[in-house]
Symmetry: C2
Subunit: 181 residues, 2 copies
């Protein structure tokens, strides 16, 4: 029987899903909860990573893979020092998510922040979907670029059906069940 993970060790919580699905909101809520438990936590936000580590990269498959691998490298560094790293980035490709899971020695919890693209198009708070559909933003995940849904992720939250609090509770319960919290 596998020993439960040491709670003092780090872990990556990978919030993956389409743009606008609610990843960053959930990441910040989870960060607050984990901080209140006295645990070291670091949010890695996709936009911050693009700005600080990947300004050179575009949105073709090869560049997106490279961007994900850079996030994975930073995750590895941080979890080695006992940090819970909450990644809030689209992370569209299954193979690279799996690769990061391996590189982090399976200290990796995949949270699919699921929302149907039709709901996102209707909501479209930043107007990105409208521009993507009009062809003004190429390689837009869910419109003109693929999103590969998790097949065996640890948890799915459905942000078009659940409230933020319900989604957060589901994630926290999963982390407790897996002995990460």
């Amino acid at each position: 029987m596998k020993a439960p993970p040491d709670k003092c060790e780090g872990v990556v919580i990978c919030l993956t899903g389409l743009s606008g699905a609610g990843k960053t909101t959930l990441a910040r809520l989870l960060e607050k909860t984990v901080t209140e438990e006295g645990r070291p936590v670091q949010v890695l936000d996709g936009d911050d990573i693009r700005k600080n580590l990947s300004k050179d990269l575009g949105y073709c498959r090869a560049d997106r893979e490279t961007n994900m691998r850079r996030i994975g490298y930073v995750c590895r560094l941080l979890i080695q020092h006992g940090v819970m790293v909450i990644v809030s980035a689209i992370s569209p490709y299954r193979n690279v998510r799996d690769e990061i899971r391996c590189a982090c020695e399976c200290r990796f919890v995949e949270v699919y922040v699921k929302c149907p693209v039709q709901s996102l198009i209707q909501r479209d708070a930043k107007g990105l979907y409208r521009r993507a559909i009009a062809g003004e933003i190429p390689n837009f995940t869910g419109i003109s670029d693929p999103y590969e849904e998790p097949l065996n992720g640890e948890i799915v939250v459905e942000t078009d059906r659940q409230s933020q609090e319900e989604s957060l509770c589901a994630i926290v319960e999963t982390l407790k069940r897996l002995d990460y919290l």
Copy 2:
């Protein structure tokens, strides 16, 4: 009077100097010493960073600056979690070293690992200087690309005159004097 730094907080130890001057050797010796003191420590090696975060970058000034800034970003993430980060990279430009010092709120110790370029050309363990002089490696720091010496760094170690142990001792003493160890 400025309060002494909290030893539990992180700090960046920036080992800067020419290729072959002994940065990586000193980084590993320092890592061992710090680990023995029970402190969390992470070495960021220039070659690792190039491989994991900056494969796309070359060696012109703009690319080297970007590479240094990426290292700085990772340092900031790690020191926020109490880690002593030992950077072993040429870090040739004063302005970017200073920028990282600021970004790390001055929790930054600049160690100039100094060795005259003539000694490095004679030693040339990896044959890189020979190739750089022959023009086979462009933009080689100290030969065909500038190295801007620290003007107000915390410490200088002279690896052509001091033994590894002497250099290490000098760095450790500086860290103790500054209350980082």
